[in-house]
Amino acid sequence: MTVNAWRVFRRHLNVLKKTWLNNLMFNFIEPFLYLLAMGFGLGNLVQEVDGVSYLQFIGLGMIASSAMWAATFEATYGSFVRLHYQKTYHAMLATPATVADIVLGDLLFAALKSLIFGMVILFVVTGLGLVHSFWALLILPFMLIHGFFFATVALTFTSWCKHIDYFNYYITLFSTPMFLFSGIFFPLNTLPAWAQWFAWLNPLFHSVEVVRKLGLGRLEPVLLIHVIILIALSSLLAWLPIRMMEKRLIQ
């Protein structure tokens, strides 16, 4: 973590302050639509899941997914526009900032967006009376870990990506399946045993487990393993977008 990465982050924060209304407001609508359609609509058909109402079940899970989408969109479209169209990275590289500073600054900012989106959904589901424990406050710092991880994966793809249309593939083939099979909409223990093990390969599954159990106040040692997996994966992967961006920008 360098001082110039912090300055890159500050630049993004400046922009966010000016554009938050356009940038954030409409992105909140989608998780609400899911809550409405699934929670209230589908929820009428479903009795209880894991001992809680269906709305509560998916409401807590949506905290993790909307935070993931926030980090993903920021580190794909957001970073790509700066990299490819606005040449913001090039302008920063003319200063003492390095590629590593720029990548870390982008990751931090995407993690912040994760936190903001996760927080808003957390407020909403708390307002709906779905949160049962003060442990839910730990969801907030966890959002940064969660956001940093998904931003790292997304920015790695971005540093390879030559055309903005390719992000459709990333979203459809990677993010969406992760979202659908992460245990947000149905408990994974209804799947056959082999598929449950498969779920451990889905990074979003780990986040959903942590967020939901914290929200319900069901602390289990396994949550720590989920968190450690995400931190370990982040620290293993974070050099990748740095190297790939260096290859792309320093020719």
Binding site: R7, R10, T88, A94, A97, Q251
Partner: protein, 308 residues
Amino acid sequence: MQAIIEAKNLIKRYNDFTAVNGVDFCIDEGECFGFLGPNGAGKSTTMRMIYGLSRVDAGELTILGEKISLTPPAVKAQLGIVPQEDNLDPDLTVMENLLAHARFYGIPSGEAEARAKELLEFMGLDVKSDDDVESLSGGLKRRLVIARALINEPKIVILDEPTTGLDPAARHLVWQKLRQLKERGISLLLTTHYMEEASQLCDRLVIISQGKILAEGSPAWLVQTLIPPEVIQVNLPSTSLPTGLAEQVKKWKAHPVILPEMTFLFTPAGDRLWEQLPSLGLNPRSCIHRPSNLEDVYLTLTGGNLGQ
């Protein structure tokens, strides 16, 4: 005079294409040094190596006394960069662009604001301070990029085609500002494919084509030394020239340079050659007699290679 940038046999390759092929130059403190050449000549690649967007493949590059492979942050802190493509931050206002840039140099915010105000005034942008960058005209954007490059009070300002795409009035204004920078003792390094820009601004320049330096000197020296003082420009495509014209004019001590769309006859005695035009089979109406200039040096040296 102290060299601030020195290159010895500088080489840059992209796969099997050699963009810069053994280039030597030495830029003194306080001068304006130019790279003149067509698109794809290797000018921008050389600039990229200097300001840290490209690695040096072979040869030596020394900036402010430090040998460089990839220009490190401490050296970049002494440079001001005006890239070929405007890369202003469209999400920020004019003032914010300068302040965001200043932050990367660790300039305290109070001082950054004072410097930004002063630079906007210097560049005639003070009334635009709170405007969105997108609302600026091409010329104003260019001036803002130059202001941005000055925020860290650099020793060297590197300008990659600073006036490409500007109208003549905007171009002259930028030139005027660059001259004022030079008066302040800032060294300027610029690339251009405008001969006029090079002769207006540069103390010394190199003519570069296909990754190699063809000539070096002051604009006036190059014109006086490398080509005859006068030229008759024949505005005919090479296919419509009288046969054997090249051989014929050599008898009159003229040096022909034949391009697809026009031909130049360089000569120490233009009037005498002009009188011979009808006998050479040329209609004087399709010819112009004028003093030779930097562009002619360039065309002669490159054999008419305009990078097309």
